[in-house]
């Protein structure tokens, strides 16, 4: 993945220090409250309501929360956030219990922690899959990813979901690359379960995982054993069982999902912001992170990947994109937070490929400079969208307006 100049970083220790600095910088960007908009958004209000309900009635009252939702949602004209997103609400409740912070702060703290963890596990993932140099570069790119920083600043579930999705992807990778071992299988199953109880979008990731398992024969990513397949389904079932328990029964859970989905299609905000053609996500991603997206598209366009990790990410992106771009009124840039790592990894691959055509004496400096430029562009976009304009939900309308493309 990295040329000799990069892979032969003279001292591993120096590299690790550099990686730690990058991660520290990324964590700082996530923790420092830079977002322009401070008041709670619509989604945040619903999550806060969920946490407050648990604070008042105790954690065991979770089924009542879901039952109430299942009862109220059909009567409402629009879809509201379902309490089946257990991870965020439960973790925020726990945070409140430990640190005695108000529900909204607890929710934001959980979201922020999740995005910091995303950065950490991404670095670890890349370090194990592609080496230290790639880990440093991709971590730098991810540190400055506008959506990741934004999701750390608000009580959104998407940052938490991105964490669970990337954790699952990493653990799947480890299980495929190494011999079958409980050391990796159990965390993998648990991460799938965690993903399922975090957000409904787990279905897309799950299909992506199944596609990776199915296509491994041709893509030659690693080994797919029966244990891995069983764990994949067992994890998903465990997640579903947890949801059933949290809802107080299968019927309530189905009722809650059914009410949510049916109302989504009549919610004006969703109709107005979640529509568009199949390339809507590409448009949104170009507007948000132009260089990363262009580089990743260039890497994807080759259809020929030397490294297994690139094939792995490319297939995951392709399958999940296919599903997510065909969701009627269901397109939102927030859902793409789980693509931030794959996109940046592919973008870095492209930078490395481009470095090969640079005269040898400039090659060593080319990659860090290119990564720094991409990071700077991403940070400037974060500043524009979320600091200066205080965007809450980065819809296409909103971000193109802020770019002065649409006035």
């Amino acid at each position: 993945m990295v040329p000799a100049a990069m892979s032969q970083l003279p001292e591993k220790r120096l590299g690790i220090v550099l990686l730690c600095l990058v991660l520290f910088f990324g964590a700082f960007l996530r923790i420092y409250p830079s977002a322009g908009l401070k008041y709670p958004g619509v989604d945040e209000s619903y999550y806060r309501h969920g946490v407050m309900f648990l604070v008042h009635n105790g954690f065991t009252s979770y089924p009542s929360l879901v039952r109430n939702y299942a009862k109220v949602q059909p009567a409402l004209p629009v879809a509201i956030i379902p309490p089946t997103r257990v991870t965020l609400i439960a973790a925020a409740f726990l945070w409140h219990q430990i640190f005695n912070t108000v529900p909204l702060i607890s929710l934001r703290a959980v979201a922020c922690s999740a995005t910091v963890l995303t950065l950490l596990i991404s670095a670890l993932f890349l370090y194990r899959a592609a080496g230290l140099a790639a880990a440093i570069a991709v971590s730098a790119l991810l540190s400055c990813a506008p959506m990741q920083i934004q999701l750390a600043q608000r009580a959104y579930v998407d940052g938490v979901f991105a964490f669970t999705a990337i954790l699952t992807l990493w653990l799947l990778w480890e299980n495929m690359r190494g011999p079958s071992s409980l050391k990796w299988l159990v965390p993998y199953g648990a991460s799938i379960a965690l993903m399922v109880i975090t957000k409904e979008n787990a279905a897309f990731v799950f299909v992506g995982i199944l596609s990776i398992l199915a296509c491994n024969r041709w893509l030659k990513i690693g080994e797919v054993g029966l244990n891995l397949v069983i764990t994949t389904f067992a994890g998903a079932l465990a997640g579903a069982a947890t949801l059933v328990i949290a809802s107080g029964g299968l019927a309530t859970l189905i009722q809650a999902f059914h009410a949510n989905i049916s109302k989504t299609y009549v919610t004006p905000y969703v109709i107005q912001t979640g529509d568009g053609p199949w390339f809507r996500y590409i448009l949104d991603l170009i507007a948000m992170s132009p260089l990363v997206t262009l580089l990743a598209l260039a890497a994807l366009g080759r259809l020929s990947f030397q490294e297994a990790i690139s094939r792995y990410f490319a297939l995951f992106l392709a399958i999940t994109y296919l599903l997510m771009s065909n969701l009627h009124y269901g397109i939102s840039l927030r859902y793409t937070a789980m693509w931030d790592l794959p996109l940046r990894c592919l973008a870095f691959t492209q930078i490395v490929l481009m470095a090969a055509s640079v005269p040898p004496r400039y090659r060593t400096i080319f990659i860090p400079v290119a990564v720094a430029v991409v990071c700077a562009v991403d940070l400037s976009h974060y500043s524009l969208f979320f600091v200066q304009n205080g965007t809450y939900d980065p819809t296409a309308t909103e971000i193109l307006h802020q770019l002065n493309i649409v006035k």
């Binding site: 507007a287 366009g301 080759r302 296409a396 002065n404």
Partner: protein, 452 residues
């Protein structure tokens, strides 16, 4: 120009989609060649039909009314402000004669001074004059003449694309690139409206092609003449000639590194002479250097205060990428892929990449001056790159390469045509501003002030 062997090369370049089949069975070569010519003729016929002006299909009176259901009629039938101005200028020539052109320019200056925003200047002479000529020859109303002119020149651009692609010396490019150009949404759109940009694209592409030929066949006076003529025509068609010209200069300068061909002194002189001739014609038409300078100064300065330009022509450096993605998503994605994978020896691809890159660099830095119409001249270069990328990708599957490229090109053409239908037939699209494209694609539904 070139000898018989070169002509044969051209013909073979026109033909080879399934080159492996030709090698497998030499006896079938003439038959395959013939069938490919037929396919090319069909592609051109479809492209020409789609470009026919909607007036020809109107009920009762129009000659092609019987085919109305087959022709994708654009939803916008009102036209725009620009069309009315071109019409007014063409009428002014008819009323006062061509010798009165300096008066038209002076009248424009006087009017422009009083207006808060910019209106298009009469120095887009060639389009206006040819519309007048068409009107004079066929007694067609000026507005209709403008439409017919746009339509004819869009067809000519298609033919030029076919010839240019065949001259690149790559098998299968002629059919592939021509097919993609035949259904290019922005090309079709320009053919249906009285806008100068499609007309300008023809001259810019003619200049680009003749530049390529001059590089490949140095000191051929016939190519030099075409080159000078095309450059001159660009200058007297639209101010955007400057962007194309700078791109040509850039290509000539880059020839040292890319070795497209031979840069001769004659070619450099021609590169300067063409625009000088154009400027000289404009000087005569404007009635002096003072009027010419004042016209352009007013036009440019007033553009910065034109509300419409401020509303629709702003954005970051990648605004054109956004617009191109909205109109031709797959072509753009393939072209982006091609840009990053070109090898040094792929001279034709570098030639087109440089043309786009240099003109892009200037065009994306014009404040309040970004519009997808101006990117019309990139349609052919983008499609050459996109088709090249399709070919590269098809090589990953050597067994099915020929069929894959045929299917992929066909599907790409369908996607492109579908985009045109969505944008211009199901939606009253006139101006190619981002917000209108987004409305047509249902991405934008409310005002930008929308909050959840």
């Amino acid at each position: 120009m070139r000898g018989a062997s070169q002509d044969w090369n051209l013909l073979t370049a026109l033909s080879t989609v399934t080159s492996s089949l030709v090698l497998a069975d030499p006896m079938s070569a003439p038959r395959l060649f013939k069938s490919r010519l037929i396919i090319l003729a069909i592609i051109l016929a479809i492209g020409v039909f789609l470009r026919l002006p909607p007036e020809l299909f109107q009920p009762n009176t129009a000659p092609l009314h019987a085919l109305e259901s087959l022709h994708p009629r654009p939803d916008d039938q009102k036209g725009g402000y620009d069309e009315r101005l071109y019409e007014a200028y063409a009428k002014a020539i008819g009323t006062n004669g061509l010798t009165s052109y300096p008066d038209i320019v002076r009248a424009y200056i006087e009017k422009q001074k009083t207006l808060p925003g910019s209106i298009l200047p009469p120095l887009r002479f060639l389009y206006i004059f040819l519309a007048y000529l068409y009107h004079a020859l066929f007694s067609t109303p000026e507005r209709t003449a403008l439409h017919y002119l746009s339509s004819i020149f869009s067809m000519l651009t298609l033919l030029l694309s076919a010839v240019f692609a065949s001259r690149l010396g790559r098998s299968s490019y002629t059919l592939g690139v021509t097919a993609l150009m035949a259904v290019a949404p922005t090309q079709l759109h320009m053919s249906q409206h009285g806008l100068v940009d499609g007309f300008f694209t023809f001259w810019a592409m003619l200049a680009l092609w003749s530049l390529w030929e001059n590089l490949r066949s140095p000191r051929d006076w016939r190519w030099l003449t075409v080159y000078v003529f095309a450059l001159c025509a660009c200058v007297i068609t639209k101010e955007n000639a400057f962007f194309a010209w700078v791109a040509f200069i850039g290509i000539i300068a880059a020839n040292r590194y890319f070795f497209f061909g031979v840069v001769t002194r004659e070619m450099i002189i021609a590169t300067v002479l063409g625009p000088i001739l154009g400027v000289a014609i404009l000087l005569i038409l404007a009635g002096g250097i003072g009027s010419l300078t004042e016209t352009y100064t007013l036009s440019v300065s007033k553009n910065y205060t034109l509300d419409y330009a401020i509303q629709t022509g702003d954005g970051p450096w990648y605004r054109y990428l956004v617009d191109l993605l909205l109109v031709s998503p797959v072509v753009l994605l393939l072209a982006i892929g091609a840009v990053f994978t070109i090898r040094r020896e792929q001279k034709a691809e570098w030639f087109f990449v440089l043309f786009i890159a240099i003109s892009y660099l200037i065009m994306c830095n014009i404040k309040y001056g970004m519009n997808l119409r101006y990117a019309n001249m990139w349609d052919l270069p983008l499609r050459v790159l996109a088709f090249g990328q399709l070919l590269s990708l098809s090589r990953l599957f050597p067994r099915a390469q020929n069929w894959l490229i045929i299917w992929a090109t066909s599907i790409l053409c369908l996607i492109e045509f579908h985009q045109y239908i969505v944008l211009a037939v199901h939606f009253p699209l006139y101006e190619l501003a981002t917000q209108y494209l987004m409305y047509a694609l249902k991405i934008l539904k409310l005002s930008p002030q929308l909050h959840p």
